[in-house]
Symmetry: C2
Subunit: 259 residues, 2 copies
DNA sequence: CGTGCAGTTGCATCATGTGCAACGGTCATT
DNA sequence: AATGACCGTTGCACATGATGCAACTGCACG
């Protein structure tokens, strides 16, 4: 909507692919060098872009700062974290928390076995949206039309023989997940890794986040992992209760909304 | 330099503090609501900003994607990583890799004991620039004038009684580090954590990154950790050799540059 | 010593971003 | 129920501010 800003922001993904000099930026943007220069300077002032010794530009540090601050401030994450830690202490496995946003699913917290290490290593990276338990949970809650539209648009990479193969199977899986209120990923992403997950809901009943417990085959069998399901669901429900109950001050009104 | 872009980008740190609605954004930007709307829409189209159900805006997922891609593409990181892993396998402790940029020091890689987990949990967060071993290494290499100017500008929080107390002590410490070619942090940030670090240099001899090994008191004493210094230095030197030698294709000319 | 290339600057033009005022929807008040 | 306040949204006329050009600089290379 705003040409100048639009052009400036287009520079970011361009630089994400690797450093580029002024000429390259101008060319790939389709603008005059002087224009590109001014845009880059503005980005630079805000720290989003950094100029290395060879004069080429690359993405800057402030970007990390922003991403960091953003994730720190997510209400759900804050509320959920202690619950995730507690769950991890009881079962010992890796615990994930994820949200859905604009056709992407991303992890916003993770508790690793033993160490309570928040690791954002996969943030931003395309999560295996067609197979991950948390992805199924988040997508299952979308209105049917959206689910259908999304399924059509997706690729279905066969990470393993047990990966979701196509849109039809995916939609069926989502329907199941939607009905039963929990989800699994049994070797669909990595042959030897299984997950069980449950949804976290807002005051209006809609799924706002999803959590899962993951463990490799060699530690516990899929059956053993599934036996944790009640515990996982109880944890998710506890988070749901706290989240939908305690934050009426944050949201304008915790009621309405339909779309 | 470009007013429109400048305003748009100013929205990001604003939203990093927490979600805000249109009115708040417009007010804090000092522009008309309709202007703020158009800027937000543009940011939204690029995924940098997300609109939650209550219509308020917060930072978007693409931000993480960009930060992620950016860090993935850092040459030093790529080259250093296997060396860091090898070092970790030999000594078992946590290994960090950091760079300096625009008055900030940030971690770009980390190898945790046992697990080769890349953890960006501290990326973007103000690293304890006055005490961390890697920070000292990176800052020690700046031209003296810059060091002095920076030291004046800094705060010197006393994380522990052993933290660097003031600018004078800091500059002295940097001089020492500069001369000896390695640095430590003995309980200066967390009472029980010690670190030893060494610099990684580019072809021109300037410090481009720094690495360190950290371990808690309870596992190894400071003396024991210091005994790892030769190993740490050898690792850093190995990275230096590979980095300054092998990448003549990436940089225009691996020679010149002085500023 | 000249040629070519990349980054930078100043400037005239007009495209673009701007603020205003008016509309529509939702919620709170009387 | 009806009223009023508030917030997001739209269309528009104006002039601010972004654009591309051309000329200048500094550097590297032949």
């Amino acid at each position: 909507m705003s040409q100048t800003v639009d052009r400036a922001l287009s520079i970011l993904p361009l630089l994400a692919q690797g450093p580029a000099d002024l000429g390259q930026v101008a060319e790939r943007l389709g603008v005059h060098k002087s224009t590109a220069l001014r845009l880059l300077r503005t980005l630079h002032e805000h720290g989003l872009v950094y100029r290395q010794q060879d004069q080429r530009y690359r993405l800057g540090a402030r970007l990390f700062a922003l991403a960091q601050e953003a994730v720190e401030n997510l209400d759900v994450r804050e509320i959920a974290h202690p619950h995730l830690v507690a769950l991890n202490e009881r079962c010992g496995h890796t615990v994930h928390l994820a949200v859905y946003e604009e056709n992407e699913v991303l992890y916003i917290d993770k508790v690793e076995s033993r160490y309570p290490v928040r690791m954002y290593s996969r943030i931003g990276k395309p999560v295996a949206i067609t197979v991950a338990a948390v992805a199924k949970l988040l997508l299952a809650d979308l209105p049917e039309a959206d689910r259908r539209a999304l399924a059509e648009r997706l690729d279905f990479p066969m990470y393993t023989p047990r990966s979701t193969p196509n849109a039809a199977a995916f939609l069926k899986e989502l329907a199941t997940v939607r009905e039963q209120g929990w989800a699994t990923d049994l070797g669909g992403h990595e042959e030897s890794i299984n997950c069980v997950g449950a949804p976290i809901r807002g005051a209006d009943g809609r799924v706002v986040a999803a959590m899962s417990v993951s463990a490799p085959n060699v530690v516990v069998t899929a059956e053993e992992l599934l036996s944790l399901l009640p515990l996982v669901r109880r944890t998710a429900d506890a988070i749901t209760r706290e989240y939908s109950g305690s934050s009426p001050g944050r949201h304008h009104t915790p009621s309405e909304d339909s779309a």
